[in-house]
Protein backbone atom coordinates (compact mmCIF):
# COMPACT_ATOMS: atom_id res chain seq x y z
CA UNK A 1 0.00 0.00 0.00
CA UNK A 2 2.49 2.61 1.15
CA UNK A 3 6.14 2.13 0.38
CA UNK A 4 8.66 4.49 1.87
CA UNK A 5 11.99 4.09 0.16
CA UNK A 6 15.13 5.42 1.82
CA UNK A 7 13.32 8.55 2.95
CA UNK A 8 15.69 11.13 4.39
CA UNK A 9 14.76 14.52 5.77
CA UNK A 10 17.32 17.11 6.78
CA UNK A 11 16.17 20.40 8.36
CA UNK A 12 18.46 23.40 8.11
CA UNK A 13 21.87 23.51 6.52
CA UNK A 14 25.51 23.42 7.53
CA UNK A 15 26.23 23.48 11.26
CA UNK A 16 22.57 23.71 12.22
CA UNK A 17 21.48 20.82 10.01
CA UNK A 18 19.31 18.28 11.77
CA UNK A 19 18.71 14.87 10.24
CA UNK A 20 15.13 14.11 11.26
CA UNK A 21 14.88 10.99 9.12
CA UNK A 22 17.77 8.87 7.99
CA UNK A 23 17.17 6.55 5.02
CA UNK A 24 13.95 5.06 6.38
CA UNK A 25 12.50 2.08 4.54
CA UNK A 26 9.09 0.75 5.44
CA UNK A 27 6.20 -0.89 3.66
CA UNK A 28 2.72 -0.59 5.11
CA UNK A 29 0.14 -3.13 3.97
CA UNK A 30 -3.43 -2.45 2.88
CA UNK A 31 -6.03 -2.39 5.65
CA UNK A 32 -3.34 -2.41 8.29
CA UNK A 33 -3.28 -0.55 11.59
CA UNK A 34 0.32 0.54 11.54
CA UNK A 35 1.88 2.49 14.40
CA UNK A 36 4.98 4.67 14.44
CA UNK A 37 6.17 4.59 18.04
CA UNK A 38 9.02 6.52 19.57
CA UNK A 39 10.04 9.34 21.90
CA UNK A 40 9.58 12.97 20.85
CA UNK A 41 12.09 14.02 18.22
CA UNK A 42 12.52 10.49 16.88
CA UNK A 43 11.21 11.44 13.43
CA UNK A 44 7.80 9.80 13.60
CA UNK A 45 5.82 12.99 12.98
CA UNK A 46 8.22 14.01 10.21
CA UNK A 47 7.61 10.69 8.49
CA UNK A 48 3.87 11.27 8.78
CA UNK A 49 4.18 14.77 7.31
CA UNK A 50 6.20 13.33 4.43
CA UNK A 51 3.42 10.83 3.68
CA UNK A 52 0.76 13.56 3.90
CA UNK A 53 2.82 15.81 1.63
CA UNK A 54 3.28 18.73 4.05
CA UNK A 55 7.06 18.44 3.71
CA UNK A 56 9.08 17.30 0.72
CA UNK A 57 11.74 14.66 1.52
CA UNK A 58 15.41 15.56 1.11
CA UNK A 59 15.94 12.19 -0.53
CA UNK A 60 13.93 9.06 -1.13
CA UNK A 61 10.53 8.22 -2.51
CA UNK A 62 7.01 7.70 -1.22
CA UNK A 63 4.77 5.33 -3.15
CA UNK A 64 1.08 4.72 -2.75
CA UNK A 65 -0.42 1.61 -4.35
CA UNK A 66 2.62 1.42 -6.62
CA UNK A 67 2.51 5.06 -7.81
CA UNK A 68 5.23 7.51 -6.89
CA UNK A 69 3.47 10.35 -5.03
CA UNK A 70 6.61 12.12 -3.81
CA UNK A 71 5.98 15.20 -5.96
CA UNK A 72 2.23 15.47 -5.34
CA UNK A 73 0.80 18.27 -3.22
CA UNK A 74 -1.24 17.32 -0.11
CA UNK A 75 -4.46 18.09 -2.01
CA UNK A 76 -3.48 15.62 -4.72
CA UNK A 77 -2.87 12.69 -2.39
CA UNK A 78 -5.71 10.33 -1.43
CA UNK A 79 -4.46 10.53 2.13
CA UNK A 80 -6.12 12.37 5.01
CA UNK A 81 -4.79 13.44 8.37
CA UNK A 82 -6.17 13.66 11.89
CA UNK A 83 -4.12 16.43 13.46
CA UNK A 84 -2.76 16.40 16.96
CA UNK A 85 -4.74 19.51 17.89
CA UNK A 86 -7.59 18.34 15.58
CA UNK A 87 -7.33 21.56 13.47
CA UNK A 88 -11.11 21.82 13.21
CA UNK A 89 -12.29 24.90 11.30
CA UNK A 90 -13.63 27.18 14.04
CA UNK A 91 -15.88 29.11 11.66
CA UNK A 92 -17.80 26.03 10.50
CA UNK A 93 -20.28 23.71 12.18
CA UNK A 94 -19.57 20.07 12.93
CA UNK A 95 -21.34 19.02 9.74
CA UNK A 96 -19.60 21.78 7.79
CA UNK A 97 -16.23 20.45 8.88
CA UNK A 98 -17.10 16.91 7.83
CA UNK A 99 -18.48 18.08 4.47
CA UNK A 100 -15.39 20.18 3.65
CA UNK A 101 -13.27 17.51 1.95
CA UNK A 102 -16.22 16.19 -0.05
CA UNK A 103 -17.07 19.70 -1.25
CA UNK A 104 -13.49 20.29 -2.28
CA UNK A 105 -13.61 17.08 -4.30
CA UNK A 106 -16.64 18.51 -6.08
CA UNK A 107 -19.05 15.79 -4.99
CA UNK A 108 -22.73 16.47 -5.73
CA UNK A 109 -24.78 17.96 -2.92
CA UNK A 110 -26.87 14.89 -2.14
CA UNK A 111 -23.81 12.66 -2.00
CA UNK A 112 -22.13 15.13 0.36
CA UNK A 113 -25.22 15.15 2.59
CA UNK A 114 -25.56 11.40 2.70
CA UNK A 115 -21.86 10.84 3.38
CA UNK A 116 -21.90 13.47 6.14
CA UNK A 117 -24.93 11.76 7.71
CA UNK A 118 -23.17 8.41 7.47
CA UNK A 119 -20.03 9.80 9.09
CA UNK A 120 -22.01 11.48 11.86
CA UNK A 121 -23.61 8.12 12.57
CA UNK A 122 -20.26 6.34 12.45
CA UNK A 123 -18.77 8.61 15.13
CA UNK A 124 -22.08 8.96 17.01
CA UNK A 125 -22.32 12.73 16.63
CA UNK A 126 -25.69 13.08 14.85
CA UNK A 127 -27.17 15.23 17.56
CA UNK A 128 -24.39 17.81 17.61
CA UNK A 129 -24.07 18.31 13.87
CA UNK A 130 -25.07 21.98 13.90
CA UNK A 131 -22.85 22.96 16.80
CA UNK A 132 -19.78 25.15 16.39
CA UNK A 133 -16.62 23.13 16.95
CA UNK A 134 -15.70 25.40 19.87
CA UNK A 135 -18.90 24.39 21.66
CA UNK A 136 -18.15 20.68 21.94
CA UNK A 137 -15.88 18.74 24.29
CA UNK A 138 -12.38 17.50 23.52
CA UNK A 139 -13.53 13.95 22.99
CA UNK A 140 -16.27 15.12 20.64
CA UNK A 141 -13.81 17.29 18.72
CA UNK A 142 -11.68 14.20 18.34
CA UNK A 143 -14.60 12.33 16.77
CA UNK A 144 -15.34 15.20 14.40
CA UNK A 145 -11.71 15.30 13.31
CA UNK A 146 -11.89 11.57 12.62
CA UNK A 147 -15.14 11.84 10.70
CA UNK A 148 -13.81 14.77 8.68
CA UNK A 149 -10.71 12.84 7.65
CA UNK A 150 -12.65 9.64 6.92
CA UNK A 151 -15.46 11.28 4.92
CA UNK A 152 -13.61 11.47 1.58
CA UNK A 153 -12.77 7.80 2.08
CA UNK A 154 -9.01 8.13 1.72
CA UNK A 155 -6.77 5.21 0.90
CA UNK A 156 -4.75 5.97 4.00
CA UNK A 157 -5.63 7.77 7.23
CA UNK A 158 -2.77 9.43 9.08
CA UNK A 159 -3.23 10.05 12.80
CA UNK A 160 -0.74 12.33 14.58
CA UNK A 161 -0.93 11.57 18.31
CA UNK A 162 -4.68 12.16 18.19
CA UNK A 163 -5.37 10.90 21.69
CA UNK A 164 -2.68 12.81 23.57
CA UNK A 165 -5.00 15.67 24.58
CA UNK A 166 -7.64 13.39 26.11
CA UNK A 167 -7.80 12.20 29.72
CA UNK A 168 -6.99 8.61 30.54
CA UNK A 169 -10.52 7.24 30.62
CA UNK A 170 -11.54 8.87 27.35
CA UNK A 171 -8.28 7.78 25.78
CA UNK A 172 -9.01 4.13 26.58
CA UNK A 173 -12.48 4.46 25.07
CA UNK A 174 -11.16 6.10 21.93
CA UNK A 175 -8.52 3.40 21.49
CA UNK A 176 -11.25 0.82 21.13
CA UNK A 177 -13.32 3.21 19.02
CA UNK A 178 -10.45 3.79 16.60
CA UNK A 179 -9.87 0.08 16.27
CA UNK A 180 -13.58 -0.38 15.46
CA UNK A 181 -13.55 2.43 12.89
CA UNK A 182 -10.52 0.98 11.19
CA UNK A 183 -12.21 -2.37 11.04
CA UNK A 184 -15.48 -0.97 9.70
CA UNK A 185 -14.00 1.29 7.07
CA UNK A 186 -11.22 -1.00 5.91
CA UNK A 187 -8.88 1.98 5.54
CA UNK A 188 -5.16 1.74 6.23
CA UNK A 189 -4.35 3.64 9.44
CA UNK A 190 -0.92 5.07 10.12
CA UNK A 191 -0.87 6.09 13.75
CA UNK A 192 1.82 8.12 15.48
CA UNK A 193 2.25 7.92 19.23
CA UNK A 194 4.82 8.05 21.99
CA UNK A 195 2.61 5.95 24.25
CA UNK A 196 3.80 2.34 24.18
CA UNK A 197 0.67 0.96 25.79
CA UNK A 198 -1.51 2.67 23.19
CA UNK A 199 0.66 1.20 20.44
CA UNK A 200 0.48 -2.33 21.87
CA UNK A 201 -3.28 -2.14 22.36
CA UNK A 202 -4.26 -0.94 18.89
CA UNK A 203 -1.71 -1.89 16.30
CA UNK A 204 -1.41 -4.70 13.82
CA UNK A 205 2.22 -3.78 13.45
CA UNK A 206 4.48 -1.31 15.18
CA UNK A 207 7.62 0.44 13.96
CA UNK A 208 9.76 1.60 16.86
CA UNK A 209 11.75 4.70 15.93
CA UNK A 210 14.65 6.55 17.47
CA UNK A 211 17.08 9.16 16.16
CA UNK A 212 15.44 9.26 12.73
CA UNK A 213 15.70 5.55 12.16
CA UNK A 214 13.39 2.56 12.47
CA UNK A 215 14.86 0.13 14.98
CA UNK A 216 12.35 -2.69 14.72
CA UNK A 217 9.12 -3.50 12.93
CA UNK A 218 6.85 -6.24 14.19
CA UNK A 219 3.50 -7.09 15.70
CA UNK A 220 2.90 -6.04 19.32
CA UNK A 221 3.80 -9.46 20.66
CA UNK A 222 7.12 -9.55 18.81
CA UNK A 223 7.96 -6.01 19.81
CA UNK A 224 7.22 -6.65 23.46
CA UNK A 225 8.55 -10.14 23.85
CA UNK A 226 11.39 -10.24 21.37
CA UNK A 227 12.76 -6.71 21.13
CA UNK A 228 15.90 -6.73 19.05
CA UNK A 229 17.58 -3.69 20.59
CA UNK A 230 18.07 -2.43 24.09
CA UNK A 231 16.34 0.87 23.19
CA UNK A 232 13.20 -0.98 22.06
CA UNK A 233 13.14 -3.14 25.18
CA UNK A 234 13.64 -0.13 27.41
CA UNK A 235 11.06 2.03 25.65
CA UNK A 236 8.34 -0.61 25.77
CA UNK A 237 7.42 -2.03 29.16
CA UNK A 238 9.70 -2.49 32.11
CA UNK A 239 12.96 -4.32 31.66
CA UNK A 240 15.83 -6.01 33.45
CA UNK A 241 19.08 -6.09 31.51
CA UNK A 242 21.53 -8.76 32.57
CA UNK A 243 25.02 -9.76 31.48
CA UNK A 244 25.30 -13.27 30.09
CA UNK A 245 27.44 -15.53 27.92
CA UNK A 246 26.00 -17.04 24.74
CA UNK A 247 27.18 -20.42 23.59
CA UNK A 248 25.47 -22.69 21.07
CA UNK A 249 21.91 -21.50 21.52
CA UNK A 250 22.13 -21.25 25.29
CA UNK A 251 22.91 -18.34 27.58
CA UNK A 252 24.45 -18.52 31.00
CA UNK A 253 23.67 -15.54 33.22
CA UNK A 254 26.53 -13.99 35.12
CA UNK A 255 24.43 -14.48 38.23
CA UNK A 256 23.95 -18.15 37.48
CA UNK A 257 21.47 -20.28 35.54
CA UNK A 258 21.57 -21.53 31.94
CA UNK A 259 18.63 -21.08 29.55
CA UNK A 260 17.71 -22.06 25.99
CA UNK A 261 17.24 -18.99 23.80
CA UNK A 262 16.57 -18.16 20.18
CA UNK A 263 19.57 -16.29 18.81
CA UNK A 264 18.85 -13.23 16.63
CA UNK A 265 20.71 -12.87 13.32
CA UNK A 266 24.16 -11.46 13.58
CA UNK A 267 24.78 -12.19 17.22
CA UNK A 268 27.88 -14.37 17.75
CA UNK A 269 28.74 -16.56 20.70
CA UNK A 270 30.38 -14.67 23.57
CA UNK A 271 29.37 -11.96 26.01
CA UNK A 272 25.84 -10.68 25.40
CA UNK A 273 23.22 -8.59 27.08
CA UNK A 274 19.86 -10.24 27.74
CA UNK A 275 16.41 -8.91 28.58
CA UNK A 276 14.22 -10.33 31.32
CA UNK A 277 10.78 -8.76 31.86
CA UNK A 278 9.97 -8.24 35.59
CA UNK A 279 6.67 -10.12 35.32
CA UNK A 280 8.53 -13.19 34.10
CA UNK A 281 10.46 -13.43 37.34
CA UNK A 282 8.99 -15.25 40.33
CA UNK A 283 10.41 -14.81 43.83
CA UNK A 284 10.07 -16.61 47.12
CA UNK A 285 11.72 -15.97 50.46
CA UNK A 286 14.59 -18.25 51.40
CA UNK A 287 17.88 -19.53 50.05
CA UNK A 288 18.24 -20.37 46.36
CA UNK A 289 18.12 -24.03 45.36
CA UNK A 290 18.88 -25.76 42.08
CA UNK A 291 17.76 -23.71 39.02
CA UNK A 292 16.99 -20.69 41.15
CA UNK A 293 18.96 -17.45 41.37
CA UNK A 294 19.93 -16.04 44.74
CA UNK A 295 19.08 -12.41 45.48
CA UNK A 296 18.54 -9.90 48.31
CA UNK A 297 15.40 -7.76 48.54
CA UNK A 298 16.15 -4.01 48.57
CA UNK A 299 12.68 -2.50 48.35
CA UNK A 300 9.10 -3.73 48.09
CA UNK A 301 6.70 -1.51 46.15
CA UNK A 302 2.97 -2.18 46.24
CA UNK A 303 1.03 -0.79 43.25
CA UNK A 304 -2.47 -2.22 43.42
CA UNK A 305 -2.63 -5.06 40.94
CA UNK A 306 0.97 -6.13 41.54
CA UNK A 307 3.87 -5.89 43.91
CA UNK A 308 7.33 -5.10 42.55
CA UNK A 309 10.40 -6.35 44.33
CA UNK A 310 13.63 -4.48 43.74
CA UNK A 311 16.41 -7.03 44.19
CA UNK A 312 20.20 -7.16 44.13
CA UNK A 313 22.02 -10.13 42.65
CA UNK A 314 25.37 -11.36 44.01
CA UNK A 315 26.98 -9.90 40.86
CA UNK A 316 25.79 -6.45 41.92
CA UNK A 317 23.21 -6.34 39.12
CA UNK A 318 19.77 -4.97 40.00
CA UNK A 319 16.64 -6.92 39.08
CA UNK A 320 12.95 -6.09 39.38
CA UNK A 321 10.38 -8.84 39.88
CA UNK A 322 6.72 -7.97 39.37
CA UNK A 323 4.35 -10.37 41.08
CA UNK A 324 0.57 -10.26 40.71
CA UNK A 325 -1.26 -9.72 43.98
CA UNK A 326 -3.42 -12.55 45.34
CA UNK A 327 -6.88 -11.62 46.71
CA UNK A 328 -5.99 -11.62 50.39
CA UNK A 329 -2.30 -10.89 50.07
CA UNK A 330 0.44 -13.45 49.82
CA UNK A 331 2.37 -14.21 52.99
CA UNK A 332 5.05 -16.00 51.00
CA UNK A 333 6.43 -12.77 49.43
CA UNK A 334 9.87 -11.87 50.81
CA UNK A 335 10.23 -8.71 52.90
CA UNK A 336 12.81 -5.93 52.63
CA UNK A 337 16.27 -7.20 53.61
CA UNK A 338 15.30 -10.87 53.13
CA UNK A 339 17.19 -13.31 50.98
CA UNK A 340 15.12 -14.41 48.04
CA UNK A 341 15.22 -17.15 45.43
CA UNK A 342 14.26 -16.17 41.87
CA UNK A 343 12.79 -18.38 39.17
CA UNK A 344 12.80 -17.35 35.53
CA UNK A 345 9.86 -18.46 33.38
CA UNK A 346 10.63 -20.69 30.40
CA UNK A 347 11.49 -18.75 27.25
CA UNK A 348 11.52 -15.46 29.15
CA UNK A 349 15.09 -14.58 28.26
CA UNK A 350 15.68 -12.53 25.10
CA UNK A 351 19.13 -11.96 23.66
CA UNK A 352 19.56 -8.34 22.58
CA UNK A 353 21.48 -7.30 19.51
CA UNK A 354 23.32 -4.51 21.31
Amino acid sequence: MIEIESATKVFGTGEAAFRALNAVNVTIAENEFFTLLGPSGCGKTTLLRLIAGFEPPTMGAIKLAGDDITRLRPAERPVNTVFQNYALFPHMSVAGNIAFGLEMLGKPKDEVDSTVAEMLRLVKMEELKDRRTSEISGGQQQRVALARALAPHPKVLLLDEPLSALDLKLRKEMQIELKRLQHETGITFVFVTHDQEEALTMSDRIAVMNGGEILQIGNPKEIYERPSARFVANFIGESNFLDATLKGGQVTLAAGGTFDVSVPDGVADGAVSVLLRPEHVAARAGAAQDGEIAATVDTVVYSGEATTLHLSLPTGEKVKAKIGNAPLGDGSLPKEGDSAALTVATGAITVLRD
Binding site: F54, T81, F89, P90, M104, P152
Partner: protein, 275 residues
Protein backbone atom coordinates in the same frame (compact mmCIF):
# COMPACT_ATOMS: atom_id res chain seq x y z
CA UNK B 1 -13.02 55.01 67.71
CA UNK B 2 -9.28 54.83 67.89
CA UNK B 3 -9.01 51.11 68.58
CA UNK B 4 -11.15 50.38 65.55
CA UNK B 5 -8.85 51.95 63.03
CA UNK B 6 -6.17 49.24 62.86
CA UNK B 7 -8.89 46.66 62.34
CA UNK B 8 -10.38 48.72 59.57
CA UNK B 9 -7.05 48.95 57.79
CA UNK B 10 -6.65 45.25 58.11
CA UNK B 11 -10.06 44.62 56.60
CA UNK B 12 -9.18 46.74 53.61
CA UNK B 13 -6.02 44.74 53.22
CA UNK B 14 -2.48 45.81 52.55
CA UNK B 15 -1.89 45.90 48.84
CA UNK B 16 1.56 46.32 47.37
CA UNK B 17 -0.16 47.70 44.31
CA UNK B 18 -1.02 50.93 46.10
CA UNK B 19 1.41 53.77 45.50
CA UNK B 20 0.76 57.06 47.29
CA UNK B 21 -0.67 59.75 45.04
CA UNK B 22 -0.73 57.61 41.91
CA UNK B 23 -4.48 57.19 41.82
CA UNK B 24 -5.02 60.92 42.29
CA UNK B 25 -2.66 61.79 39.44
CA UNK B 26 -4.20 59.09 37.26
CA UNK B 27 -7.76 60.26 37.78
CA UNK B 28 -6.71 63.87 37.22
CA UNK B 29 -4.99 62.82 33.98
CA UNK B 30 -8.00 60.90 32.74
CA UNK B 31 -10.29 63.84 33.48
CA UNK B 32 -7.79 66.21 31.83
CA UNK B 33 -7.73 64.02 28.73
CA UNK B 34 -11.44 64.48 28.21
CA UNK B 35 -12.13 67.96 29.65
CA UNK B 36 -10.91 69.97 26.63
CA UNK B 37 -12.81 67.72 24.25
CA UNK B 38 -15.97 68.01 26.32
CA UNK B 39 -15.69 71.81 26.41
CA UNK B 40 -15.17 71.85 22.65
CA UNK B 41 -18.26 69.73 22.10
CA UNK B 42 -20.38 71.71 24.54
CA UNK B 43 -19.59 75.06 22.90
CA UNK B 44 -20.42 73.66 19.48
CA UNK B 45 -24.02 73.85 20.71
CA UNK B 46 -23.65 77.43 21.91
CA UNK B 47 -26.23 79.89 20.70
CA UNK B 48 -23.81 82.82 20.61
CA UNK B 49 -20.60 83.33 18.67
CA UNK B 50 -18.41 83.16 21.75
CA UNK B 51 -16.26 80.12 22.41
CA UNK B 52 -16.39 80.60 26.15
CA UNK B 53 -19.59 82.36 27.16
CA UNK B 54 -22.63 80.11 27.18
CA UNK B 55 -25.66 81.77 25.60
CA UNK B 56 -28.02 78.86 25.33
CA UNK B 57 -28.41 75.69 23.34
CA UNK B 58 -28.73 75.73 19.58
CA UNK B 59 -27.85 73.72 16.49
CA UNK B 60 -27.09 76.92 14.67
CA UNK B 61 -23.43 76.17 13.97
CA UNK B 62 -24.18 72.68 12.72
CA UNK B 63 -26.73 74.11 10.31
CA UNK B 64 -24.28 76.76 9.21
CA UNK B 65 -21.52 74.19 8.67
CA UNK B 66 -23.84 71.86 6.79
CA UNK B 67 -24.96 74.70 4.51
CA UNK B 68 -21.39 75.85 3.87
CA UNK B 69 -20.39 74.71 0.41
CA UNK B 70 -16.70 74.74 1.23
CA UNK B 71 -17.39 72.39 4.16
CA UNK B 72 -19.57 70.11 2.04
CA UNK B 73 -16.88 69.99 -0.61
CA UNK B 74 -14.09 69.27 1.90
CA UNK B 75 -16.14 66.63 3.72
CA UNK B 76 -16.93 64.81 0.50
CA UNK B 77 -13.27 64.93 -0.55
CA UNK B 78 -12.15 63.65 2.85
CA UNK B 79 -14.56 60.75 2.58
CA UNK B 80 -13.62 59.76 -0.97
CA UNK B 81 -9.96 60.05 -0.09
CA UNK B 82 -10.24 57.99 3.11
CA UNK B 83 -12.38 55.30 1.48
CA UNK B 84 -10.13 54.84 -1.55
CA UNK B 85 -6.83 55.09 0.32
CA UNK B 86 -7.96 52.80 3.14
CA UNK B 87 -9.34 50.17 0.73
CA UNK B 88 -6.24 50.03 -1.45
CA UNK B 89 -3.96 50.10 1.59
CA UNK B 90 -5.90 47.30 3.28
CA UNK B 91 -5.69 45.05 0.23
CA UNK B 92 -1.95 45.68 -0.09
CA UNK B 93 -1.44 45.25 3.66
CA UNK B 94 -3.43 42.00 3.71
CA UNK B 95 -1.29 40.56 0.94
CA UNK B 96 1.90 41.76 2.61
CA UNK B 97 0.79 40.33 5.96
CA UNK B 98 0.14 36.96 4.35
CA UNK B 99 3.61 37.10 2.84
CA UNK B 100 5.54 38.20 5.91
CA UNK B 101 3.97 36.24 8.75
CA UNK B 102 4.17 32.59 9.67
CA UNK B 103 7.41 31.99 7.85
CA UNK B 104 11.01 31.36 8.57
CA UNK B 105 13.42 33.92 7.27
CA UNK B 106 13.31 34.31 3.50
CA UNK B 107 15.58 36.47 1.38
CA UNK B 108 14.35 40.07 1.44
CA UNK B 109 12.04 39.71 4.41
CA UNK B 110 13.92 42.27 6.48
CA UNK B 111 13.77 44.71 3.59
CA UNK B 112 10.04 44.22 3.11
CA UNK B 113 9.48 44.70 6.84
CA UNK B 114 11.57 47.85 6.88
CA UNK B 115 9.74 49.28 3.86
CA UNK B 116 6.29 48.57 5.25
CA UNK B 117 7.14 50.24 8.54
CA UNK B 118 9.10 53.07 6.95
CA UNK B 119 6.23 55.61 7.01
CA UNK B 120 6.02 55.11 10.79
CA UNK B 121 9.72 55.81 11.30
CA UNK B 122 9.99 59.11 9.43
CA UNK B 123 8.40 62.31 10.79
CA UNK B 124 5.29 63.20 8.81
CA UNK B 125 6.60 66.63 7.91
CA UNK B 126 9.66 65.03 6.25
CA UNK B 127 7.54 62.66 4.15
CA UNK B 128 5.26 65.58 3.35
CA UNK B 129 7.96 67.82 1.90
CA UNK B 130 9.57 64.87 0.07
CA UNK B 131 6.21 64.20 -1.57
CA UNK B 132 5.81 67.92 -2.31
CA UNK B 133 9.13 67.89 -4.17
CA UNK B 134 8.37 64.78 -6.23
CA UNK B 135 4.70 65.49 -6.93
CA UNK B 136 5.40 69.13 -7.84
CA UNK B 137 7.83 67.89 -10.49
CA UNK B 138 5.31 65.36 -11.80
CA UNK B 139 2.52 67.94 -11.81
CA UNK B 140 4.64 70.33 -13.86
CA UNK B 141 5.76 67.55 -16.18
CA UNK B 142 2.32 66.02 -16.85
CA UNK B 143 0.05 68.97 -16.15
CA UNK B 144 -2.20 66.53 -14.34
CA UNK B 145 -3.46 67.78 -10.95
CA UNK B 146 -6.29 65.45 -9.90
CA UNK B 147 -6.82 63.90 -6.48
CA UNK B 148 -4.75 60.89 -7.47
CA UNK B 149 -1.65 62.35 -5.75
CA UNK B 150 -3.54 62.60 -2.47
CA UNK B 151 -4.87 59.07 -2.84
CA UNK B 152 -1.42 57.61 -3.54
CA UNK B 153 0.17 59.53 -0.65
CA UNK B 154 -2.56 58.54 1.80
CA UNK B 155 -2.45 54.91 0.67
CA UNK B 156 1.27 54.76 1.39
CA UNK B 157 1.05 55.95 5.00
CA UNK B 158 -2.10 53.90 5.62
CA UNK B 159 -0.38 50.62 4.69
CA UNK B 160 1.58 50.18 7.96
CA UNK B 161 -1.51 50.97 10.04
CA UNK B 162 -3.68 48.48 8.16
CA UNK B 163 -0.85 45.96 8.34
CA UNK B 164 -0.60 45.96 12.17
CA UNK B 165 -3.95 44.37 13.17
CA UNK B 166 -3.96 42.03 10.16
CA UNK B 167 -0.55 40.72 11.04
CA UNK B 168 -1.49 40.39 14.71
CA UNK B 169 -4.53 38.38 13.71
CA UNK B 170 -2.57 36.09 11.40
CA UNK B 171 0.04 35.42 14.02
CA UNK B 172 -2.51 34.03 16.44
CA UNK B 173 -3.97 31.81 13.72
CA UNK B 174 -3.34 28.08 13.83
CA UNK B 175 -1.21 27.03 10.86
CA UNK B 176 -2.57 23.50 10.91
CA UNK B 177 -5.99 24.79 9.81
CA UNK B 178 -4.66 25.60 6.35
CA UNK B 179 -2.71 22.34 6.29
CA UNK B 180 -5.97 20.57 7.12
CA UNK B 181 -7.76 22.32 4.25
CA UNK B 182 -5.04 21.33 1.80
CA UNK B 183 -5.08 17.81 3.15
CA UNK B 184 -8.83 17.78 2.45
CA UNK B 185 -8.25 18.49 -1.25
CA UNK B 186 -8.66 22.28 -1.22
CA UNK B 187 -6.60 24.13 -3.83
CA UNK B 188 -4.48 27.09 -2.76
CA UNK B 189 -7.21 29.52 -3.75
CA UNK B 190 -9.98 27.56 -2.03
CA UNK B 191 -7.83 27.20 1.09
CA UNK B 192 -7.51 30.97 1.16
CA UNK B 193 -11.14 31.62 0.26
CA UNK B 194 -12.74 29.09 2.60
CA UNK B 195 -10.34 29.00 5.57
CA UNK B 196 -7.69 31.75 5.71
CA UNK B 197 -9.87 34.69 4.66
CA UNK B 198 -12.83 34.00 6.98
CA UNK B 199 -10.45 33.53 9.91
CA UNK B 200 -8.43 36.69 9.27
CA UNK B 201 -11.50 38.76 8.43
CA UNK B 202 -11.79 40.57 11.80
CA UNK B 203 -8.17 41.64 11.41
CA UNK B 204 -8.83 42.94 7.91
CA UNK B 205 -11.87 44.94 9.02
CA UNK B 206 -9.90 46.35 11.95
CA UNK B 207 -7.08 47.28 9.59
CA UNK B 208 -9.49 48.95 7.20
CA UNK B 209 -11.03 51.03 9.97
CA UNK B 210 -7.67 52.04 11.36
CA UNK B 211 -6.48 53.08 7.90
CA UNK B 212 -9.71 55.01 7.37
CA UNK B 213 -9.32 56.94 10.63
CA UNK B 214 -5.66 57.68 9.90
CA UNK B 215 -6.47 58.98 6.43
CA UNK B 216 -9.40 61.03 7.72
CA UNK B 217 -7.22 62.65 10.40
CA UNK B 218 -4.24 63.53 8.26
CA UNK B 219 -3.33 67.19 8.01
CA UNK B 220 0.38 67.45 7.33
CA UNK B 221 0.82 65.29 4.24
CA UNK B 222 -2.46 66.50 2.74
CA UNK B 223 -1.46 70.11 3.28
CA UNK B 224 1.72 69.64 1.24
CA UNK B 225 0.43 67.31 -1.47
CA UNK B 226 -2.93 68.91 -2.31
CA UNK B 227 -3.29 71.05 -5.40
CA UNK B 228 -5.15 74.34 -5.21
CA UNK B 229 -8.77 73.92 -4.13
CA UNK B 230 -8.35 70.37 -2.90
CA UNK B 231 -9.19 71.00 0.74
CA UNK B 232 -10.04 68.14 3.04
CA UNK B 233 -11.90 68.76 6.30
CA UNK B 234 -8.73 68.96 8.43
CA UNK B 235 -6.90 71.30 6.02
CA UNK B 236 -10.05 73.42 5.70
CA UNK B 237 -10.20 73.75 9.49
CA UNK B 238 -6.50 74.53 9.71
CA UNK B 239 -7.07 77.31 7.17
CA UNK B 240 -10.05 78.63 9.18
CA UNK B 241 -7.98 78.88 12.37
CA UNK B 242 -6.09 81.82 10.85
CA UNK B 243 -9.30 83.81 10.70
CA UNK B 244 -11.89 84.63 13.33
CA UNK B 245 -12.82 81.35 14.93
CA UNK B 246 -16.52 80.69 15.37
CA UNK B 247 -18.20 77.64 16.95
CA UNK B 248 -18.63 76.37 13.38
CA UNK B 249 -15.16 74.83 13.73
CA UNK B 250 -16.36 73.23 16.97
CA UNK B 251 -19.35 71.77 15.16
CA UNK B 252 -17.19 70.25 12.42
CA UNK B 253 -14.74 68.99 15.07
CA UNK B 254 -17.55 67.37 16.99
CA UNK B 255 -18.73 65.49 13.92
CA UNK B 256 -15.19 64.30 13.19
CA UNK B 257 -14.75 63.28 16.85
CA UNK B 258 -17.97 61.33 16.77
CA UNK B 259 -17.07 59.48 13.57
CA UNK B 260 -13.60 58.68 14.93
CA UNK B 261 -14.93 57.53 18.31
CA UNK B 262 -17.43 55.19 16.67
CA UNK B 263 -14.78 53.65 14.44
CA UNK B 264 -12.31 53.26 17.29
CA UNK B 265 -14.94 51.63 19.49
CA UNK B 266 -15.74 49.15 16.71
CA UNK B 267 -12.04 48.56 16.22
CA UNK B 268 -11.62 47.88 19.93
CA UNK B 269 -14.51 45.42 19.96
CA UNK B 270 -13.20 43.63 16.89
CA UNK B 271 -9.62 43.22 18.06
CA UNK B 272 -10.58 42.14 21.57
CA UNK B 273 -13.10 39.54 20.50
CA UNK B 274 -11.93 35.98 20.78
CA UNK B 275 -12.99 33.60 18.05
Amino acid sequence: MAENSPLKTKARGYSVKTLPGFSVVALFTLVALYAPIVILVVYSFNQGTSLAVWEGFSLRWYQQAAANEAVQDAALRSLILAISAASVATVAATMAALATTRTRHFPGRTMIYALINQPLMVPEIVTAVALLIVFAAIKVWTGHTSMIYLIVAHTAFCVPFAYLPIRARLETMDNSLEAAAQDLYASRWLTFRRVTLPLMWPGIVAGLMLAFVISLDDVVITEFVKSAGQETLPTYMLGQLRRVVTPEVNAISTVILLAGAILVSLFFLLTNRRV
